[in-house]
């Protein structure tokens, strides 16, 4: 397959097919509707399952069931729809089942708007569901990167028996880019799914159960400890970030997704004015690339966190920075996208932006 021109949402859908998705369960919501639209045609053509459920709650529980049966399953939604799915997501994480959840963020809170936003950073990284759990969260900045990460996400989910969330904003879902679907995916050793609820033929006398209920507190604590060990391993193996223009910077910008695209332009503009600014671009939001902050030179004047939200990733920047440098914040919200000039201005007036 040569290069093609694709809309982000279509690319998410085709990448999931290339990644081997067996079943999609979802419910429509703007601005991600092209994902189910594309899959409704092409997944059925491939003899796989596409099902539009009667609600988001149903859809995520269908994902739970099909993932429990050992299939490669996904759902996709946008902000309020992902909110509805949180209970099921917590159950899936608790039962250690692999799946892919695509979240195409729009303005919030509540119904908010249909314009792009990054207001669901907390929802993705802190979880709206209950209990001590984490999703593996990737936040690509381009359609190509979205394709690459989605193709790999089923392997990652299977490897760790953990849900993977791919978090983009509505702009990435709706815009178009020329892309290549044939880029290689990292090979991983994936063990047999001997935990899948597919009957007792291969293990007579032992019944597999997909479950997140542990009535014995000692057993549940052991389960929590086990999950925590797994998250540590994920942190060690799956932390991803990009360092941009990391050569003797005066300031550091931290931004992900669409905001990183805007910041790239701002960095070029600042360079022309003789102000060197670098960027840490987190690609994995959980695990957060704290180690990238160790690479920041001691003499930088400050770190500017840029978000399409009111200061959510800022928390992780403050944790990762650990008091070493001044941290400032620049954000737009509600579906408003800044021009690069606004970031240029925020860097030039960094002192007015300092939070801590």
């Amino acid at each position: 397959m040569a290069k093609v021109l694709m809309k982000g949402n279509e690319a998410i859908a085709l990448a999931a097919i290339k990644g081997g998705v067996d079943a999609f369960y979802g419910y429509p919501i703007t601005p991600q509707n092209e994902v189910p639209e594309y899959l409704s045609k092409h997944l059925l053509d491939a003899g796989k399952v596409f099902l539009q459920a009667e609600s988001e709650v149903s859809a995520i529980n269908m994902v739970y069931g099909a993932a429990g049966a050992g299939k490669r399953v996904m759902t996709s939604s946008s902000s309020p729809g992902i909110a509805l799915k949180q209970e099921g997501i917590s159950y899936i994480a608790g039962a250690e089942l692999p799946c892919l959840i695509v979240s195409v963020m729009r303005g919030g809170p509540g119904l908010g708007s249909i314009q792009p936003s990054q207001g669901d950073y907390y929802q993705a990284t802190r979880g709206g569901g209950n209990g001590d759990y984490h999703l593996i969260v990737f936040a690509p900045e381009s359609i190509q990167e979205t394709i690459d990460v989605i193709k790999e996400s089923f392997d990652i989910a299977d490897y760790y028996r953990n849900p993977v969330m791919v978090l983009v904003d509505g702009l990435i879902g709706q815009m178009m880019e020329s892309v290549d679907f044939d880029r290689p995916v990292k090979e991983r050793f994936l063990p047999e799914k001997d935990w899948a609820t597919t009957g007792t033929k291969n293990h007579p006398g032992r019944r597999n159960v997909a479950n997140s209920l542990y009535l014995d507190p000692q057993a549940l604590e052991q389960h929590n400890i086990h999950l925590n060990e797994k998250y540590k391993l994920i942190k060690k193996n799956e932390t991803r970030f990009e360092l941009i223009n990391f050569d003797n910077p005066e300031y550091i910008i931290v931004a992900y997704g669409t905001m990183a695209r805007i910041a790239r332009s701002a960095i070029e503009m600042l360079k022309k004015e003789g102000i060197e600014v670098s960027m840490i671009r987190p690609i994995s939001l959980f695990p957060y690339p704290e180690i990238a902050f160790d690479k920041i030179p001691e003499n930088v004047k400050g770190i500017l966190t840029c978000e399409l939200s009111m200061g959510q990733m800022l928390d992780d920047v403050l944790i990762a920075n650990n008091g070493r440098h001044k941290v400032g914040f620049f954000g737009r919200a509600g579906g408003m996208l800044p021009d690069p000039e606004e970031i240029v201005d925020a860097i030039k007036n960094f002192n007015e932006r300092v939070v801590k």
Binding site: K3, V4, L5, M6, K7, E10, L14, T30, P31, S113, I114, Q115, G170, L171, Q174, M175, M176, E177, S178, R261, I262, R264, S265, G335, L337, D339, P340
Partner: protein
């Protein structure tokens, strides 16, 4: 281009960018946005910009019309049909689903209109002549109007080369030969445009109005 010209095509073929570019080039009076499918990148977003060229945008009458995805359009979409001195470009939503909105103009089928289909062969659903002809059939069947011309808008955005456009032309020529429809325009991005370019139909220098410079 007739006084009333509709643009149709596969979803994501570049209809709205072409509509804006053609509207400015041809100095039409109206751009009519009939896209009830896309939530972003609709011609109505360019309403203020088009005003600077004295082009009026007709779309929805609802508040916040650029930021809602309601299947609603203004009754004012009929205005250009009632004034022979006015020229209008109608920008339809993608595919045969978008072409459904042509049906409301059935009563005006005595008006001589153009219906151009915008084609980008780098879109998966229109990457060969069979698929394109199937789409033309569907659009004509659903919309009730005959397609009158083909527009080659084959591109890979910033990565487009003249060879890419030429490859698009070879496929669209096949469509033209089979359907007897002319290629009326070939769109070329301004960054690779030159005055001496020769393609089928008129060469249209394309400026991108929707795409932010940081994308």
């Amino acid at each position: 281009m007739k006084n009333i010209t509709f643009l149709t095509g596969y979803y994501g073929s570049g209809k709205s960018e072409l509509a804006i570019n053609l509207a400015i080039k041809e100095r039409v009076d109206y751009v009519v946005d009939l896209d009830i499918m896309n939530p972003y990148f609709r011609t109505r977003e360019q309403e203020e910009f088009l005003k600077t060229y004295e082009i009026e945008t007709i779309s929805s009458d609802l508040d916040y019309k650029a930021h809602i995805d309601m299947p609603y359009i203004s009754k004012r979409v009929f205005i250009p049909f009632h004034d022979e001195s006015k020229r209008a470009i109608y920008d339809l939503g993608g595919n045969d689903s978008g072409a459904k909105l042509l049906r409301q103009f059935e009563d005006y089928n005595d008006v001589d209109i153009d219906l151009y289909i915008v084609i980008n062969v780098y879109r998966q659903e229109s990457d060969n002549s069979e698929k394109i002809i199937e789409l033309i059939d569907k659009i004509e069947g659903v919309g009730g109007f005959k397609v009158t011309g083909l527009i080659n808008n084959s591109n890979l955005l910033r990565e487009t080369t003249l060879e890419d456009i030429l490859y698009g032309e070879t496929i669209i020529k096949e469509v033209s030969n089979k359907t007897k429809l002319p290629i009326v325009y070939t769109a070329v991005w301004e960054n690779i445009y030159a005055d001496n370019l020769v393609f089928q139909g008129e060469v249209l220098k394309l400026k991108l109005y929707f795409r932010k410079n940081w994308l």
